[in-house]
Amino acid sequence: METKKKFEIERALATENQAISSGQLKEDNPLDTSETFRQFCEACRRGDLKVCQEMIQAGVNVNARDRHDYTPLILASLCGHYEVIQLLLENGALCERDTFQGERCLYNALNDRIRNLLLSYDYAKSTNPLQPLAAHITSLLTRPEPKTADITITTYDQSLHLHKFLLAARSPYFAKKLSAAPNTTTWKLPDKIPTESLAVATQYLYFSEVSMRRVMRGLSDEEELHVLNGIDKIGRQLEMDRLFEDITEVSDRRLLRQKRTDELIRGRDQLEVWFKENVLRNKVEVETAKVDDLKWDRHNSIYADILLRADDDDEEEDHVSAATEASPGPSESSTPPTRNILGLPVPSSSSSPTPSRRLRKSTIYPAHKAMLLRSEYFSTMFTSPFREAQQTPYLQIVTLDCSPKVLETILTFLYTERSDFGLDVAIDVLFTADQLFIEKLKQRAALIISTLGNGNSSTVESENPRGETDQEEMLDIYEVIRAGWDTRVQRLEEFGARYIAYRLERYIDTPEFAEIVQESARRVTARQETDTVELVDDIRYYLSDRFRLRFEDSGLDEMMDQGGDDADAIAEALEDLGVKDEKEEGGVIQKEVKNGGMLEKEIEEQLAVGAIRTLDGEIAGDEFAQDAINYQILLGKIDRLLENLNLDA
């Protein structure tokens, strides 16, 4: 990859500035001097994933720059925080070749790994984050199955099958017109307006990138004018002020990109407003028992064609009741409902077995099949000739196996591409997204878990080599790892391994840890890929990462030479330990636990005193020696654990 010469960059910068000051080009990286942004930059500098994610969710502009002309992306790549860079890029940080800031990022990248990551996100290759949403909506125009269109717009020689909710969301004219007469199924365009104009307007409405050049191909000047006039008329009639402006083509690549980005954001915002004011506002909360009495007419004010149902959690609190645990599905509540011969649940009036308990509630969301089709689950459901695909006088209710909050999160994502949700629902979203085959949401959930779940202390892991964490447990890391396995999200397993590695002292001796190692091992045998235990490999890797950073600071090689002697000593010490353990036969874990519990106290004491001791309580020469010995001890413990579990490593 060739790098731009300095003068070339300077020239590019000058023309860019000119373009910006003359208003042609929007500033990609506006100056932001707010305190929030300063904090954000600081987090990027330190590599604090959690803070970064929180602030991104809070809405900080990832492409702004600070008073020293640094963007968050430049800071992160300069400081070498791979995960932070990934996070920024996934959230739309720009790194475009041939721009001043883009080249700065590449130039400042700490290593080739980061540089390649940045290059892989070059705008030329990556797509706009809203593009999947736009592409889906565009595809609705041509999608043959299942039928979702509910209004037909006709010109003198053609008819287009469109969606009322989209028209209402995108065009104030339609919003008024349709709310006045929601049952409208046809709309006739004045004969004067050519079909081409309508086609352009529809494409625009459906988020498609309109190419006027393609539309106009083969038309004479006169026809061209006619079509343009038609577009103008439609734009005015439908009250889409920007229609004409937005379809005007520009040649500049960056300008085009900015225009497209603006267009998509505007469109999404329209859709979001409509979604909130119609879909969400019309959700209904009913007693679960009475759900089946709910009748929604096919013709309704928000043009919904399907109802989605989510049931409240049985229990308000975290601990799960035994009754729920036994129940196989959510719709069947605590006692399995009576079934007919086909195994279909018969609408039962017996909802809750204990009348003393608060009545269980269900939430019903009206929705549009057209948007639900983004999930492969729904698209199969509405295409395959089962009950859900049949036309019924009243809208069908489809139950989703999740809480209303999760369902709302999912609907929000499907309609708006927004996926800002909290850690509290993250795991549920992950599972539901997996069940519904919404891959992007799955990845988002994993991202949120792996960034926000990183402990509340906000410490940067590399600054905490000794695994000191606050006592409060943010998350059940085992559950996270298992969720990662169940939903096949690699990122979560890696996150879990890293999380544990940096706190290994706390986990190594617990029976739960042994259990999850064994689970990981079982996964391996089932797959028959390798003989190693993946989780342990990952933990070892992150463990070495955790300690190596320390060693690197002071010259690893020297340390390792010195460490050779120490290692011998450790080996001896460990042997002693091992011998002792064997004698005790299987009591290893308890002993270690005891050891650990004791150690922590000791360390605390010693820290107070200022003495430096290793994990086995020996007093070490200095912090480095302590680290080296601790590292060896932890590795030794892993090995022994594997031995006990009869696992090859």
């Binding site: 975290d318 599905g329 459901m381 795991i427 599972f431 878990i449 059940d476």
Partner: protein
């Protein structure tokens, strides 16, 4: 585990996904019941959501394997009990009857029962597909998660395998080992056979069964080449087709002629192609075509081409369509179309040689006269001349025949052979071969004569277009001629006579012809011809210039003789062939004694010419010239007794003029003997004889009276001026016997060839020297090759001659052998 700082914290997934067990058996009962509904087409009452959720939860609980197995078993049971049973019901006895002894059932019976079977199978397959895709929809999560992780085929794929194993590979009935697939193939093939025999069959039905076979695989890997259609049906289809067409071709060869065979074969090929499109798979088109072509064409084309009604017959009877068919068939199996090519070439050679022989026979038809001895007499001479005339006719006929042959084959080539370039070359070669065949050495001369004939007579009254066609034909023929130098020699000779005697109908056409030759054969070929034309035009200017010069002298002599003169460059013109007697060598060329008046003009011109071009020598060729004489015959009693003086303008040869002028000075009753005339004029005897014959013997132009009156002229014959000459026209042309272009006698031809060979030797030497000068040192073999190449455009040199020339060049020290190397030569500067 308390939420830290009141902020959000992660919770384990609700409803505890771990630890609690799904009740697999109960759930499975639900699912199985639903599947039954699907198979009995009651799916619209089932909830997708619920079924999916059940399957999802089972898979999430790591029970995917069990679910997969249960579904698999369910489907297997369903197919083997329900579906297989239904299908077996459809098998009628006539269907199961031994294919060998089908005689007991009628074709219609078999067709009906076959169609019933196919319909049933199609229905079963269609249902299976629909049901399985619904099952796959429900089990989507299992497919994506369990099957992918465990490398299992998706449930849909597995079910397709089941259909293959449980239905197609199942025995027909408990006692019958044959399987359904074999029966299916058999039924389809039988239906196809019916269609071949002219019946109408349900193509769509077969096509859907074929689609089924195409969608199933023989192995479990779904490898592309393992489609059941390929491994099972297609193989059988190709096999039976091969047998069928083998037998059919044998029968057709016996029963029909080549044309009918070709039509039938082509129709069959089209039928099979259509069948692949409409009934089977397009991918088979290529393979079945290969089979049909192999059986109907490849093995038979030789017999077909050579049979009585084969190519020979078609050519002779102008069966363009059939030729086209046979060409097309041949082209299908052989890019080079060698069978047809061979047949065509054989036919051209045969017809060409026939034409050659006819020409030879015609030219020799009257038994060759004995060589004219001294006493040969008029008769033998006349027969000789007649003979020569007949040869000319034969030559023209030969050319016409060849052109007609060429037209015929061109037409065949255009209309039947799709203007195939390979055949074009082959036909060209055949034409060239027979035209240049060693048994027929006259092609060059004949072609030149043909042009000559056309230039003099043929093109009279023709439009430009027609003339162009004639010229093009001539060019076509010239292209065939290998010994271009020989042709050039003849052409020059003929052209020379035409130019000097002014025999050409149009000078323009002459030039056109040369222009065409230049385009086809290159400018070096026509350079001499161009020079001849140039001489003519220069001479024209010269004559005019001289005329002006004479007028400018002011010497106005009313009796002055007009002179029109052609000055010919000696090296350009083939004057030796014009020498008449052929013995006119430079030194002993007889100088004719011109009458004084003429001599004066001659000297005047010589003077004029010498002034314009110094250092050039003019040699007069009176034998080539002609003169216009105004002759006054004394009054003789005319009809009704009126005495009238008669004036005639006589156009005579230069010699005749000289002779006639002698009588001007002679009293009317005096005579001159032959010897006296010869002595006075010094005209070569042969020429004199000829001229006297035309003046005194030819019936219409007896200006002289010969005594005794006989054809042969003897030295002591006397000649008088014929005062009583009667001519019906004012202008009288006195022809000279035996001018004009005729076929050469054998003797002449021999001379021409000798001269030509000599020229070739010079040209060869020149080529050798040129090559050696460039290469300096060159090996013998290469030298010969290169020489042949260089000369190819002119003629085909003989190697022995080249060798001889090399020897001669070594002798003359142009070349030397390189010492130590056996066959290298070095050029000596």
């Amino acid at each position: 585990m308390i939420a830290g700082r009141g902020r959000q914290r992660i919770r384990p997934p609700r409803r505890g996904l771990h630890g609690d067990e799904v009740d697999f058996d109960n759930t499975w009962v639900t699912i199985e019941a639903a599947f039954r509904e699907i198979h009995t087409k009651n799916a619209s009452r089932l909830s997708y959501e619920e079924l999916y959720r059940h399957a999802y939860r089972i898979v999430l609980k790591k029970k995917g394997e069990q679910l997969y197995k249960n579904v698999h078993d369910f489907e297997k049971r369903w197919l083997s009990s329900e579906v297989r049973g239904d299908l077996q019901q459809l098998l009628s006895p006539s269907l199961l009857a031994d294919p060998q002894s089908v005689a007991s059932t009628t074709a219609n019976e078999r067709r009906v029962s076959g169609e019933k079977f196919l319909k049933g199978l199609k229905q079963a397959w269609g249902d299976h597909q629909v049901c399985m895709s619904m099952l796959a929809d429900v089990l989507m999560y299992m497919d994506r998660v369990y099957c992918q992780d465990h490398r299992r085929p998706s449930i849909y794929t597995a079910a397709m395998f089941l259909f293959r194993d449980e239905i197609l590979k199942s025995p027909l009935s408990p006692g019958d080992e044959r399987d359904l697939l074999g029966l299916l193939n058999h039924v389809i093939l039988e239906q196809i056979q019916m269609e071949r025999d002219g019946d109408v069959i349900d193509k769509h039905l077969i096509k859907s069964c074929v689609h089924m076979l195409d969608g199933l695989y023989a192995d479990d890997l779904e490898s592309e080449d393992q489609r059941l259609y390929h491994v099972s049906f297609e193989k059988a289809y190709l096999e039976t087709s091969r047998t069928f067409y083998h037998a059919e071709s044998e029968l057709m060869l016996q029963e029909s002629d080549a044309g009918a065979y070709c039509k039938r074969a082509k129709k069959r090929i089209h039928e099979e192609e259509d069948r692949c499109r409409a009934t089977l798979m397009e991918s088979t088109t290529f393979k079945i075509r290969e089979v049909v072509e192999a059986e109907l064409i490849e093995g038979r084309i030789h017999d077909l081409v050579t049979m009585d009604s084969g190519v020979h017959f078609m050519i002779d009877n102008d069966r363009m369509d059939e030729l086209n068919l046979i060409y097309d068939l041949n082209a299908r199996v052989d890019d080079r179309k060698s069978e047809v090519t061979r047949a065509i070439q054989r036919r051209i050679m045969a017809m060409g040689i026939e034409i050659n022989n006819e020409a030879l026979a015609a030219s020799q038809a009257p038994a060759p006269a004995p060589p004219p001895n001294a006493e040969g007499g008029d008769k033998s001479r006349l027969t000789q001349e007649k003979n020569v005339n007949m040869q000319t006719v034969a030559a023209i006929k030969w050319v016409d025949d060849v052109l007609a042959l060429k037209d015929k084959f061109d037409k065949i080539w255009r209309e039947s052979f799709e203007s195939d370039s390979l055949l074009d070359t082959a036909m060209f070669n055949s034409f060239r071969d027979f035209i240049n065949s060693t048994s027929f050495p006259r092609a060059s001369e004949y072609i030149s004569l043909f042009i000559d004939d056309n230039m003099k007579k043929g093109i009279k009254g023709k439009t430009d277009n027609e003339i162009d066609q004639v010229l093009d034909k001539a060019i076509t023929l010239i292209k065939y001629v290998q010994d271009k130098d020989l042709f050039e020699r003849y052409y020059k000779k003929h052209l020379c006579k035409r130019l000097i005697m002014n025999k050409s109908v149009s000078n323009e056409v002459e030039k056109q012809m040369v222009e065409k030759m230049k385009q086809e054969l290159g400018p070096s070929f026509t350079s001499k011809l161009d020079a001849m034309f140039k001489d003519m035009s220069i001479s024209h200017d010269l004559t005019n210039g001289y005329k002006n010069h004479v007028q400018g002298l002011g010497d106005r002599d009313p009796n002055r003789i007009d002179l029109s003169i052609n000055v010919l460059t000696k090296t350009t013109w083939p004057l030796e062939s014009l020498g008449g007697s052929g013995d006119g060598h430079e030194d002993n060329r007889p100088q004719c004694n011109f009458p004084a008046a003429v001599d004066k003009v001659k000297r005047g011109f010589e003077q004029y010419y010498a002034e314009k071009h110094s250092g050039r020598q003019l040699t007069w060729l009176p034998n080539m010239g002609s003169a216009d004489i105004k002759a006054v015959f004394p009054k003789v009693p005319h009809k009704g007794g009126i005495l009238k003086e008669r004036r005639h303008e006589l156009n005579v040869s230069t010699y005749a003029m000289v002779i006639l002028l002698l009588f001007n000075e002679l009293p009317a009753d005096q005579s001159l003997t032959f010897e006296e005339i010869q002595a006075q004029t010094n005209i070569p005897k042969l020429d004199l004889k000829r001229n006297l014959q035309s003046l005194a013997v030819a019936p219409r132009t007896r200006i002289l009276i010969k005594e005794p009156m006989s054809k042969e002229v003897k030295p002591d014959d006397k000649f008088y001026f014929n005062e009583g000459f009667k001519g019906s026209f004012v202008k009288i042309k006195v022809g000279v016997v035996a001018t004009g272009n005729k076929v050469e006698s054998d003797q002449q031809r021999k001379e021409t060839e000798e001269r030509n060979d000599k020229d070739r030797e010079y040209v060869t030497e020149a080529a050798l020297v040129r090559i050696m000068k460039q290469r300096q040192v060159f090996a013998h073999q290469q030298l010969i090759l290169e020489t042949i190449n260089m000369l190819a455009s002119r003629f085909k040199p003989e190697v022995s001659m080249i060798k001889r020339k090399i020897e001669s060049l070594i002798e003359r020290e142009y070349l030397e052998r390189v010492e130590g190397s056996s066959d290298d030569y070095r050029y000596l500067a």
